[in-house]
């Protein structure tokens, strides 16, 4: 288990306190009272932040209610608008349109050799070692400077444990670790939040690939199993490559485009 998950580890070992569920229920039951109190009493900046949060929540809730209302209305009469046609047995069904509908033209394009190696971002800005690494001074009088800290976002694998302090030359800060990426399917225009499986290649430096540094242009492997893609051989596609399109350290998230 990674080091920072000590609370989870404790719960796993010793369980929760016996009245946890009841306390939780009570706290939740009081929640509306607390919100109401806050709404009435808060002033100044805190009131502003509170109002902003509330506003966002209410919009979210209204949207959800609207969606539910839409789902209950019987919308069977509309004729389907698939350009290529659907068999009769699929006509009245809710379009379970996961990003499956890869048209044949895309697949043909994939078959062409030229398209195979083309990536959306062919060139990237070079990143110097000074920018990538921050020197961490160690020793009693901070004279030693063999330790480095990565200043960019990274992907570390599942169950990674840091090495002992003496041997850890390169630190990947846990606050800058990323597990998921917003992956866009270029043809379908859908964006899905998918777990990252690995860093395939960082064009800057093979060392960065090894360290799992996520910069603009990095090729990552993402888990597309929830998209329900299938190969021509009838197997479920599991991992697929995607290229990072933003600078994650500027945005705090990883955006990527799927390579099809």
């Amino acid at each position: 288990m990674p080091q920072n998950e000590y609370i989870e580890e404790h719960i796993k070992k010793h369980g929760r306190r016996l009245d946890h569920e009841e306390r939780k229920r009570k706290r939740e039951a009081r929640e509306s009272h607390r919100i109401s109190k806050d709404a009435q009493r808060l002033t100044g900046f805190r009131a502003k932040m509170f109002a902003k949060k509330r506003h966002a929540e209410k919009i979210e809730m209204r949207k959800k209610i609207k969606q539910h209302e839409k789902a209950t209305v019987n919308t069977t009469t509309s004729t389907p608008d698939d350009p290529d046609g659907l068999p009769t047995y699929l006509l009245d069904r809710q379009n379970t349109n996961q990003a499956k509908a890869l048209s044949t033209s895309i697949k043909q394009k994939r078959m062409e050799k030229a398209a195979k190696f083309a990536v959306p971002l062919p060139k990237v800005r070079g990143i110097s070692e000074e920018e990538m690494f921050k020197v961490v001074k160690t020793g009693k009088s901070k004279r030693k400077s063999w330790k480095r800290m990565i200043t960019k976002h990274t992907f570390v694998g599942e169950g990674f444990t840091r090495r002992p302090v003496k041997f850890e030359r390169i630190i990947r800060p846990s606050a800058l670790r990323q597990k998921k990426a917003n992956v866009t399917h270029p043809e379908l225009g859908v964006t899905v939040h998918l777990p990252i499986l690995s860093v395939k290649k960082n064009p800057q430096n093979p060392l960065y690939t090894q360290l799992g540094v996520l910069t603009k242009g990095t090729i990552i492997e993402v888990n597309v199993s929830e998209l329900g893609l299938v190969t021509a051989g009838g197997k479920v596609v599991w991992g697929k490559y995607a290229q990072v399109t933003n600078e994650p350290d500027r945005d705090g998230c990883v955006n990527a485009v799927l390579l099809v």
Binding site: P83, D84, G85, T88, Y89, T104, K107, G228, A232, G234
Partner: protein, 522 residues
């Protein structure tokens, strides 16, 4: 980046070197007592017990049974299964290795063996793609083989055309243009003279088979798209000239058309929602199923069609209806397995032959029995025997289902009786195909292998193989006897929407979203 398997362990290697003892039959195996029971009637063969060697193979049992039944001159192949336990045990090679060694029974017990006659002919499984025929500009939505044989195939597509193909050459024969929107369903008349197509543009059109030209104008009347077509079975025509055609539609009606005059004889309204599918049964009855959860049975023996009964059981949309006599009705007067006899195109001969074939296929205990199965979105199927007395009359009609078939975990899309009517295969969106007994509705086995929804299946004419098409881009052929995957046929680049095995068993055609029709042969 292929994963290399670790080398086998020392123990595994040693075990691999040991002689395979599975096929060794002990010398001192005693005789066992065997009783034969017919699967269809359930009667034990006269003579009671027979003593046979414990090592008897299926072939030897077949010889014995043919001798007992007096059919040694023209032996019929049989399959045997041990009954009496919780589930029947199929005998695949011999009594010892299938029953005694797995300790289903001891040599002291009486073994009751159920025998099922097999088709005399054998359909070879398709194994390769011989042609990929492109031409359609849209998804392939439906297809149908000629009732005569597997050389002519018609496909309906999302580009508004239907095309006829020569499967021997892998070439197009005719392009049938006329519909303005998707061609959702195609059907051959059982005498193979006329072709009907139903479309998204709410019309039904008839086409001449030889030239591919449209016969007359479009038959309009439906206010929503046409979902299925059913021709009147050939043997019901008698001396009557005009054949009738039933079309079902999303608008909740069935329309009956006269094929010769293209006039709308009658409109059967009664369903309150989309009629998903209909079958014109061989007893002169139309079965229609609908999204209003009902199945309606219409009496079509006279010139005016009336409602007989409504069958209520399903709790959600009824998606498909199939009959135990589907195969003989579809092939009409053409028997694809009569060798050396040229199938006559003479209309009278065809009608006579179709009558004989229908009676042969449907007669049970001296009565004409036609079983009906319906598949539904409520994840169940019902097996019906609407006319248990063998005559179509309202008083003796059985509106209770024979069996309720549960097991699927998602809506069932398609269900099909095998050509001999003994087995049922159901395709569901839960990625599985299930096999059921066609007589009792008992569950037999599940065929697993597809990784996405299974859209359609088609039986081979000898009822030994089953082909399925799925959303996962593959066609798979299954061996029904042991419930195993027989052949995996990848090749399609996208979902497979339609699949059909020709009536002579030589060709399988499949088509789908990748706009190509593939022909699979042995």
């Amino acid at each position: 980046m292929a994963t290399v398997l670790p080398p086998p362990t020392k123990r595994a290697r040693r075990e691999a070197q040991q002689p395979n003892e599975t096929n060794v039959i002990p010398e001192d195996l005693p005789f066992v007592q065997v009783a034969f029971r017919a699967a269809d009637t359930g009667q034990v063969l006269a003579g009671g017990m027979h003593l046979v060697p414990g090592s008897s193979t299926v072939k030897q049992l077949e010889l014995l049974l043919n001798g007992l039944l007096g059919s040694t001159d023209d032996p019929i192949p049989y399959t045997f299964s041990l009954v009496g336990g919780s589930s029947p045990v199929a005998i695949n090679s011999d009594i010892y290795s299938d029953i005694l060694r797995p300790k289903h029974r001891s040599t002291e017990d009486v073994l009751t063996l159920e025998y099922v006659p097999q088709a005399i002919f054998r359909v070879k499984s398709v194994s390769r793609c011989t042609a990929t025929m492109s031409g359609h500009g849209g998804t392939i939505l439906s297809m149908a083989f000629s009732p005569k044989n597997g050389t002519r195939l018609v496909t309906g597509s999302g580009d508004g055309t239907a095309r006829m193909w020569d499967t021997d050459m892998g070439t197009p024969v005719a392009i049938m243009r006329g519909h303005e929107k998707w061609v959702l369903c195609v059907a051959w008349s059982p005498d193979a003279t006329v072709l009907a197509t139903g479309s998204m543009d709410c019309s039904v059109r008839l086409w001449d088979i030889k030239s591919g030209n449209q016969i007359g104008s479009a038959m309009k009347g439906h206010s929503k798209w046409v979902t299925s077509l059913a021709f009147e079975p050939l043997h019901l025509l008698g001396d009557r000239k005009g054949m009738r055609l039933a079309s079902t539609s999303k608008d909740g009606t069935l329309r009956i058309w006269d094929v010769a005059t293209r006039a709308n004889n009658q409109t059967l309204s009664g369903h309150t929602a989309c009629v998903t599918s209909a079958r014109w049964g061989g007893m002169g009855v139309i079965y229609s199923c609908s999204q209003d959860k009902t199945i309606k049975v219409w009496d079509a023996r006279g010139s005016v069609i009336t409602l007989l009964k409504t069958l209520n059981a399903h709790a959600h949309w009824v998606n498909f209806v199939a009959l135990s006599t589907d195969f003989v009705i579809k092939t009409g007067g053409f028997d694809p397995f009569v060798k050396g006899e040229v199938v006559s195109d003479d209309a009278d001969a065809l009608r006579r032959s179709s009558r004989a074939r229908f009676l042969k296929a449907s007669t049970q205990n001296g009565m004409t029995i036609e079983r009906v199965v319906t598949a539904s979105d409520d994840q169940t199927m019902y097996l019906w025997n609407p006319f248990p007395k063998g005559v179509v009359e309202e008083s003796s009609m059985n509106v209770k289902p024979v069996a309720r078939m549960v097991g699927h975990q998602k809506p069932i899309n398609h269900v099909a009786f095998s050509a001999d009517g003994r087995l049922l295969a159901s395709c569901s969106f839960d990625n599985s195909v299930k096999l059921w007994d066609g007589q009792s509705g008992a569950f037999l086995t599940t065929l697993r292998g597809h990784v996405a929804a299974v859209y359609m299946c088609s039986w081979s004419a000898d009822s030994r193989l089953l082909a399925t098409g799925s959303k996962d881009c593959t066609v798979k052929v299954w061996d029904v006897r042991n419930g195993k995957l027989y052949m995996d046929l990848p090749g399609h680049k996208d979902e497979v929407y339609a699949i059909e095995w020709s009536s002579d068993g030589k060709v399988v055609a499949s088509g789908g979203r990748d706009k190509t029709v593939k022909i699979w042969k042995h």
